[in-house]
């Protein structure tokens, strides 16, 4: 002890093209931009980092382990624009040292609005992961690690998961450590793994910050911090976006060299090891109950939902989107349903955030819009066209649209 548990989030949305109130066609997504960004991130991050992780697994003969959660919307884009990345993930899967997690296929906020849609997306995602990598996920992470007690109830009811990953937010821990395993109040079977945000963010956010008093962060120094958990925790959960490697932290910051040396530095201490989330769940007992009646996430310093639901534009867009669910599904049009689901990706609402509009670096990276207002206008124009499509189908079929009472 402690066991270091790495989980990397791998996701890119299908960004919308510029869509005005005068546009009538059904091409909502900016294929050129999405392809360009996908290839750029593949070359700067996914390919070099996958190769590095593969080398480290081979070098350490199976003692180095990691986990990934790869969204369905990204897998679709990789299949079309950068299939070699999928080959490297497949190679990682075949090492036996890599776990793939489950999440909603479309990286959506469906848990907040439609439990049926939520479960359908999870099933679709798990089937896709099994098809691509021969791996049936056993641990779940919700979009942006959004979590409450209710989430564990839903996940447990699906009968296929052993654990849930979420944020180790201070206000739910109440002074306790994220380095232990927890249960939710109503489920003794599902184990909760909490992100150690201090150590995770040292790599993901502070690594290249020259104003940070711990800069430069060397692998040996970080390994010492991990070793200090010894005797006061079972696990150090390092959860972060995969784009940390090569995008958020560019290559010239030394992030790849850091990661190259980190496993050997950590394993210099014989008490330390690496485990996947499922191995952590199998190895350690839950030590306490974690009561999370409200909603938390891993986003921003607030660790709440304000990044996606902080203003009336965001709540209106989300409400209108999920109001369409029954009508869209009733139309039984695969393309219409797929388009509606791609609109659920949480990034669309993240772009509408006015919280840090003036100076939010993390909100701006990969953001295709000049302002949150442009994002909302674009999104609502697309939704307007989507609505016309299913209403047209209903007129043709003679069905009445389902009216949702407010």
């Amino acid at each position: 002890m402690p066991s270091v548990c790495f989980y990397f989030q791998v996701h890119q949305p299908c960004r919308l093209r510029h869509y005005t109130v005068f546009d009538q066609d059904h091409r909502y997504f900016d294929d050129l931009k999405n392809k360009s960004i996908c290839r750029k991130v593949a070359n700067k991050c996914y390919l070099p980092t996958n190769r590095l992780i593969l080398d480290l697994i081979r070098k350490h003969e199976g003692r180095f382990k990691v986990a990934y959660s790869v969204t369905g919307v990204l897998l679709e884009q990789l299949a079309e624009y950068a299939p070699e990345v999928i080959s490297t993930f497949d190679a990682l899967a075949r090492t036996g040292c890599v776990e793939f997690l489950a999440e909603t296929y479309y990286h959506s906020l469906s848990f907040l609005y439609s439990r049926n849609e939520f479960k359908e997306q999870i099933c679709k995602h798990s089937e896709t992961i099994e098809k691509f990598f021969g791996y049936k996920p056993r641990v779940f992470r919700n979009t942006e690690l959004i979590y409450s007690n209710d989430l564990t109830d839903v996940i447990e009811s699906m009968g296929v998961f052993d654990g849930v990953i979420t944020e180790g937010a201070d206000r739910i821990l109440g002074g306790r450590s994220p380095n232990f395993i927890y249960n939710s109040p109503r489920s003794k079977r599902i184990k909760l793994l909490l992100k150690n945000y201090a150590l995770s963010d040292d790599i993901a956010f502070r690594f290249s910050n020259r104003g940070w008093n711990e800069w430069p962060l060397m692998a040996g120094k970080f390994s010492d911090w991990v070793s200090r958990v010894n005797g006061n925790g079972y696990v150090v959960n390092l959860f972060m976006d995969y784009e940390t490697f090569g995008e958020h932290q560019w290559k010239d910051t030394g992030i790849f060299d850091f990661m190259h040396h980190l496993p050997e530095e950590i394993m210099k201490n014989p008490d330390n090891n690496f485990k996947t989330p499922s191995e952590v769940i199998a190895s350690y007992p839950a030590t306490d109950v974690l009561d999370v009646p409200g909603l938390i996430s891993w986003a921003d310093t607030e660790r709440d939902l304000s990044a996606w639901l902080g203003n009336s534009m965001q709540s209106n867009a989300l409400h209108e989107l999920y109001r369409m669910e029954q009508n869209v599904k009733q139309a039984k049009d695969e393309k219409l349903t797929s388009d509606w689901r791609k609109l659920q990706t949480s990034d669309h609402f993240y772009y509408m955030c006015t919280k840090y509009f003036a100076d939010g670096d993390v909100h701006k990276y990969f953001n295709p819009y000049d302002s949150p207002y442009d994002s909302y206008i674009n999104f609502m124009n697309v939704m307007g066209n989507l609505e016309k499509r299913y209403k047209k189908k209903q007129v043709v079929s003679g069905r009445q649209p389902i009216q949702i009472e407010h």
Binding site: T20, A358, S371
Partner: protein, 80 residues
């Protein structure tokens, strides 16, 4: 009230909670005007944030900054 300005205007450098468009792009200007009329949450958010932002912009603050620069220049040593 929600505001729509040209991206090429000087004031576009200091205002964030406004709608902006290239002055020649009449389609985009029309798109944004229609959006404000169609989507009440857009109107509300622009009004709320715009109101807050404009209250922070005062000529007294701009004048104070100019004065600070003049004072700094006056106090700097002059080399022959």
């Amino acid at each position: 009230m929600p505001v729509l300005i040209s991206k090429q205007s000087g004031v576009s450098e200091v205002l964030t909670h406004v709608l902006k468009a290239d002055f020649w792009d009449v389609n985009e200007i029309a798109n944004k005007i229609v959006a404000v009329l169609k989507y009440p949450p857009l109107r509300m958010t622009l009004k709320e944030h715009g109101n807050f932002e404009v209250r922070k912009l005062k000529w007294e603050d701009a004048a104070a900054k100019c004065l600070a620069i003049y004072n700094q220049l006056v106090c700097e040593p002059v080399y022959a």
